[in-house]
């Protein structure tokens, strides 16, 4: 017998128990004392606003995507060029789970449905349902959810949180309000120290910090490298279109839009990799061929900018994001040119909307 679970020093166990009881008591007191009364944000709380926006603006074309859409397309210019009304709906960093929810819970439920829904994507985004469904994206998803969203939970297995975490969130306000508590500790300290040291208010200093660390002041090369590495990890296993498509949101989005009488168009954006003349990975070439056939079979137009050399490297700001000035000014007319023959149903005369 080399080990024993019997206490060789009985006092030690009592001391350890005492130590942890006191520690947990302090923890509980802190949690109760510092947690503010909260108004819980209900799931799907953004839906009414998003629906109302569509109802009021009545766009003929709705463009859905993430910041690559936001940085590349000017909806006002596009509306003028196409002589129609467009709405740009961008969720920063979003991927298919969020686009699916937007189509399901906003677009198909509005009374003034648009004629066209255009999704802007890169490479294999459309069949990557589990991409970007955790962290801050989870909150975004909850804000767009209508009920349990069982399909989403099934197709994006990373979305449901571990049981323990979900229970802690549901039952302990101080865990839900972590960031609020954290700010309530940090803010007084900033307000105490920043004004005498910086000669300005804490809020103004905060604003200046934002200016100092604005995108255009960051090292473009580094940011691009970080982005490429991050995406390389994600992309590596997801190139088999045949396997991926049935487990993705793509067929569901297509079905919902068809039932809602909304034409579905997809736009593949040019990546910095393509603009720099680096070859597409072979797996991606095969994947795209399969995606193209799948879309053709369903009569879904694909507008592919990957090989459009008019989108030059100097138009890119950070990673795959075009610059909001030169990049957007150049890309929007190119988009209009490619979309014009596809959106012939749009003959609205209404003023363009943002």
């Amino acid at each position: 017998m080399t080990s024993s679970t019997s206490g060789s020093s009985p006092g030690a166990l009592t001391l350890a128990a005492r130590q942890w009881i006191i520690a947990l008591s302090v923890f509980t007191v802190c949690a109760f004392a510092l947690t503010p009364t909260e108004q819980r944000r209900p799931s799907g709380h953004r839906l009414p606003y998003l629906q109302r926006t569509i109802e009021i603006d009545k766009p003929c074309i709705v463009m859905i995507g993430n910041s690559t859409l936001d940085d590349s397309t000017d909806p006002v210019m596009l509306s003028q060029l196409l002589n129609t009304t467009t709405e740009k709906v961008q969720f920063p960093g979003s991927a298919t789970a969020i686009w699916y929810l937007y189509i399901k819970n906003v677009l198909t439920k509005t009374t003034n449905k648009p004629q066209y829904a255009i999704i802007f994507f890169r490479d294999n985004d459309l069949t990557n349902p589990d991409y970007r469904v955790t962290g801050n994206y989870r909150t975004m998803i909850q804000d767009l959810s209508d009920g349990e969203e069982t399909t989403l939970r099934r197709l994006a297995p990373s979305f449901p949180q571990p049981f323990v975490i979900e229970s802690l969130h549901n039952h302990f306000a101080f865990i839900r309000q972590r960031t609020v508590i954290r700010d309530s500790i940090e803010q007084p300290i900033r307000e105490l120290l920043v004004p005498p040291l910086a000669g300005t208010t804490a809020g103004e200093a905060w604003r200046m910090e934002g200016l100092t660390f604005a995108d255009e002041r960051l090292n473009k090369e580094l940011l691009t490298r970080i982005q490429l590495v991050a995406e390389e990890d994600v992309d590596a296993t997801h190139y088999n279109f045949g396997d991926r498509v049935q487990a993705s949101f793509l067929p569901l989005m297509h079905d919902m839009l068809r039932e809602g009488n909304i034409r579905f168009i997809v736009v593949r954006l040019r990546r910095l990799r393509d603009a720099l003349g680096k070859p597409e990975p072979e797996k991606l070439v095969n994947y795209m061929a399969d995606l193209r056939s799948w879309l053709e079979e369903r009569n879904i137009p694909l507008v592919d900018f990957t090989h459009d050399d008019r989108v030059t490297p100097d138009l890119f700001a950070v990673g795959d994001h075009l610059s909001k000035t030169k990049g957007m000014e150049t890309f929007t007319p190119l988009l209009a040119e490619r979309l014009a023959p596809l959106v012939t149903n749009c003959v609205h005369q209404a003023a363009p909307s943002q």
Binding site: T2, R18, W20, A23, A198, T200, T212, F213, L218, N219
Partner: protein, 462 residues
């Protein structure tokens, strides 16, 4: 598996429960070996193959060293070639290929890029050095070759220190593996607060300061003041990150009845470079001293030039050990240069100033050198530094100055929990009420300040 993941929170108690219920030392060790491989292969199971090959090879070589003394040199060379070759392939191949290609381009030759994407196995630098240390110790006759394979496999792969050290010596860890271990309730009093301190250091201090550091070193053109704040922030981040890891490792090992060596002894109190290396990453610096610096001749060589060359080479290699990039090489060389300068000025070894003022001055000077070193360590690349320095202003515009102050206040805010850490370590009597209260605050702060699922430990990359 990360020490600061939910998985580990479940893994460790489950392991402890099973482990202490096993009545026999042999089975306890076997159980731990299985657990070590489970821990190591959690994300990439193929990594287990690498460590298994390394274990089998060094176990066999250790026995050969004793059985065939007339071939000792051959066996030790074989082990060094194998272990360092392994390390070179996985860690430095890409770096080497890239630099050969760049050098050829400079000379006018066009070499096509030859790169193999190799995933760097976590902790390879640590367990490789630990295995080399064992082989050299057997060669020198400092320890006997291990005849029990399970015990040796446990020595190489012991999970608390597998991924980022401390790099244990065979003479310290092997006897603990072979000796029966007994549960004492006192283990709870020592190990659990240490783990709590480690988690707090990592999740509350290091991870939050990492955000500040990353932002500053992402700037295209920082001011000098920004660079200083960023470097100070990084010095805090890396210390709390790595010492946090070590605390969790030592605490976890403690719960299993093992005692791991100390890795940090207030490094930022150092007054000379020798003093700094006696306090920072102790298991690594003593390894470098015993298995590289002294065998090369150390300070006993008659020629000053040779001494300088040995010192600079040792420290440059230690820099390269940290990562396959030129900034780590520069960091190591810089520390070698500072060590050499102090040595030549008669302030090497255990030198101490005689007056309080001298002590203050020495501390200030040494910490300035440490910070310059950390700047080299943290910069994204040498290219970045070369690009930024020529146009660098000291303070910059009003907006930049105010931003720097604002960032410095944030740094101060996130560094303040260090007081709680120090308190828990200072009031170390088991019945201390203050310690218990501080532990409560620590728990609260971990929950409030936790960022997402936590970053990887910095030293996991090495």
């Amino acid at each position: 598996m990360s020490f600061v993941s939910l998985t580990y929170l479940v893994f460790l108690p489950a392991v402890l429960l099973c482990y202490w219920l096993i009545p026999n030392l042999r089975f306890q060790n076997l159980f731990l070996v299985i657990i070590n491989y489970l821990f190591y292969g959690w994300i990439h199971p193929c990594w287990c193959i690498l460590i298994a090959i390394s274990t089998v090879f060094d176990f066999w070589l250790g026995i050969c060293l004793e059985k065939f003394p007339y071939r000792r040199r051959t066996f030790v060379t074989l082990s060094l070639c194998y272990n360092l070759g392994f390390l070179a392939f996985f860690k430095y191949f890409g770096f080497f290929a890239e630099n050969v290609q760049a050098a050829a381009n400079v000379l006018g030759f066009q070499l096509s890029p030859f790169t193999i994407r190799v995933l760097l196995p976590a902790g390879i630098s640590f367990y490789t050095f630990q295995s080399i240390g064992y082989i050299v110790d057997v060669y020198r006759g400092h320890v006997k070759a291990q005849r029990n394979f399970i015990d040796f496999a446990l020595f190489v792969s012991f999970f608390p220190q597998l991924v980022a050290g401390p790099i244990e010596r065979a003479s310290h860890l092997l006897p603990q593996i072979m000796r029966p271990r007994k549960w004492h309730n006192k283990i709870l009093l020592d190990a659990l607060p240490l783990i709590l301190v480690g988690v707090m250091k990592k999740l509350v201090i290091a991870d939050n300061i990492a955000v500040i550091v990353d932002r500053i070193f992402m700037l295209q053109q920082p001011t000098l003041l920004f660079l200083i704040v960023g470097t100070v922030a990084f010095s805090i981040q890396i210390y709390y990150d790595f010492s946090g890891y070590t605390d969790i490792a030592r605490g976890s090992a403690g719960l299993l009845g093992f005692s791991l060596m100390e890795n940090f002894r207030k490094p930022y109190a150092a007054i000379s470079p020798s003093d700094f290396w006696r306090r920072w990453h102790i298991s690594f610096s003593t390894w470098i001293r015993d298995y590289l610096y002294i065998p090369l001749g150390g300070s006993r060589v008659p020629s000053r030039w040779k001494f300088a060359a040995i010192l600079l080479a040792t420290m440059t290699i230690s820099g390269l050990w940290h990562g396959a990039a030129w900034n780590f090489v520069l960091w190591g060389f810089f520390h070698g240069f500072v060590l050499l300068a102090y040595h030549l000025a008669g302030c090497g070894g255990r030198w101490e100033p005689s007056t309080k003022l001298g002590w203050m001055g020495s501390w200030l000077l040494m910490q300035t050198f440490v910070l310059v070193g950390w700047m080299f360590f943290r910069i994204p690349s040498i290219h970045w530094l070369i690009g930024a320095v020529p146009n660098m202003h000291f303070i910059g515009t009003d907006v930049e100055l105010i931003s720097t102050i604002s960032v410095a206040v944030s740094l101060l805010f996130f560094a303040m929990p260090a007081a709680i850490v120090s308190g828990i370590l200072h009031f170390d009597k088991p019945n201390s009420l203050i310690r218990s209260i501080l532990m409560g605050f620590a728990l609260f702060m971990i929950v409030i300040f936790l960022r997402g699922s936590g970053n990887d430990f910095i030293y996991f990359r090495f």
